[in-house]
Amino acid sequence: MIEIRFHGRGGQGTVVASKILADALTREGKFIQAFPEFGVERRGAPVAAFARISDTKIWPRHKIYEPDHIVILDPTLIGAVPLLDGLKPGGWILVNTTKKPSQLGFPKEFKVATVDATHIALKYRLGSAASPIVNTAMVGAFARVIPVVKLETLLDAIEEGVPIKPKENRAAAEEAYNSVIMEG
């Protein structure tokens, strides 16, 4: 069982990211629970989402306190919220940023990957310039870093799952998949 936590801001599609993942895994006959941090979501305010992934039925149903990996959709959250809480040593930290993994200064016990999802989202005109929607790019990158699902399945799930611009979202995810930088 793999447990993952996503961090983002209200309005950025953080929860949707985890849902797309759920959809993709389901298509492959895998098991997953994807759920938001339960609370009042306000645009701009920090939010989190969770996923529990397994090849067999998942019985435990509670929050994830010690994730295996972490996905950060918004780099400005770094420093603002305790992002690494409970992250298991050896786990991946995937960050949407222009920086290289080594530039982020995360503790050595973690593996770090980065992708410029904002850039990709802007390129495919996902969301507005003021608030680009990076979620599909981020799941694309995720699929590369933590290979729990086939890229093709994920891309199909994206294309069928997003409310608008299916092709663009698909392309963004694929581009992110290919452009992610991994260290660790």
């Binding site: 009042v40 306000r42 645009r43 701009g44």
Partner: protein
């Protein structure tokens, strides 16, 4: 240059949990300026149940009783009765609710309190849908608007409920519309209402960026356009009869100016817009006529 057009004192604190550009938060800020410290709020379920902040904090600066959704007016009726028997009649007993809590689930308690003449000032911050639960239609949702329960394929088929008309039919001493763009007007109305006794009612249109699908910075602009297009006229009704329109634009702006800014109207066809234009114009003319009419019946002894 400097002119303090509204009271300077702040009762509401920042740090509250309203979204960026929340009209409802501003409405409260302005209302409290008018009401002052000697105020007790009853707030039913609505965005303000969240905006005020989690236990053990509050942003309002005056006492609040968080009340069940349907009970803004009835809880306040109890507060007012207590103030009376305890000799604290200088306290403004205020029910503060959203449009859902007012037009829908709370209307019975309102109707009852209005009929009894309970000594309450009821303020509805009208953002035209159930926002706290994520944008479902209320009976304040405008004609043809999108909400999650009136989806684009089947937007709201009924016009906005005429809450002031309903309250006017209750012959309450004071009923008025207001909006956050006309802050001075709103503050004046709250003060006027607060100075009266019996059941008083103010509907303050309060744009909601996520609910209306608008960028937060145009909240005031939208509220202003609502008035200028005639979509939401500003007027008062005394004793259910005496109508007074507070802002009379020489010429109403086309409704499209208001509608086109909002994602909740993005599906409208030209016919839809035309229909809405016609409705708004007719309502405006009826309102003007009603104002005239009220001068007429004023003469009846």
């Amino acid at each position: 240059m400097r002119k303090l057009t509204i009271p300077r004192e702040e009762y509401m604190t920042p740090g509250h949990l309203a979204c960026q550009g929340c009209g409802g938060a501003l409405a409260m800020r302005l209302a409290l300026k008018a009401l002052g410290k000697k105020t007790i709020l009853s707030i039913p379920a609505c965005c303000w149940s969240v905006i005020d902040g989690p236990f053990p904090y509050s942003a309002a600066g005056v006492p609040i009783f968080h009340a069940p959704f349907e009970t803004a007016a009835s809880t306040s009726a109890g507060v007012a009765a207590a103030m009376k028997i305890l000799g604290k009649e200088d306290v403004n007993v205020v029910a503060w609710a959203g449009d859902g809590g007012t037009f829908d689930i709370g209307i019975q308690a309102i109707s009852g309190a209005a009929e009894r003449g309970d000594n309450i000032l009821y303020i509805v911050y009208d953002n035209e849908a159930y926002m706290n639960t994520g944008i479902q239609r209320s009976s304040a949702t405008p004609y043809k608007a999108w909400t999650t329960t009136t989806p684009y394929k089947f937007p709201k088929a009924r016009p906005k409920k005429d809450i002031i008309g309903i309250l006017a039919a209750h012959k309450i001493p004071y009923a008025a519309t207001a909006t956050v763009a006309y802050a001075e007007d709103f503050v004046k109305k709250v003060k006027k209402a607060a100075s009266m006794r019996g059941f008083r009612f103010i509907q303050v249109l309060s744009p909601c960026p996520p609910g209306w699908k608008t960028p937060p910075e145009i909240t005031i602009k939208l509220a202003r356009l609502a008035v200028q297009t005639g979509v939401f006229p500003l007027y008062e009704v005394e004793n259910g009869e005496k109508y007074k329109i507070n802002i009379k634009p020489k010429k109403l702006k086309p409704v499209i100016e208001y509608l086109k800014l909002q994602g909740r109207f993005r599906h409208l066809t030209q016919e839809d817009v035309d229909e809405i234009q016609r409705m708004v114009e007719r309502n405006w003319k009826v309102l003007l006529a009603r104002e005239e009419f009220s001068k007429q019946i004023e003469k009846i002894v």
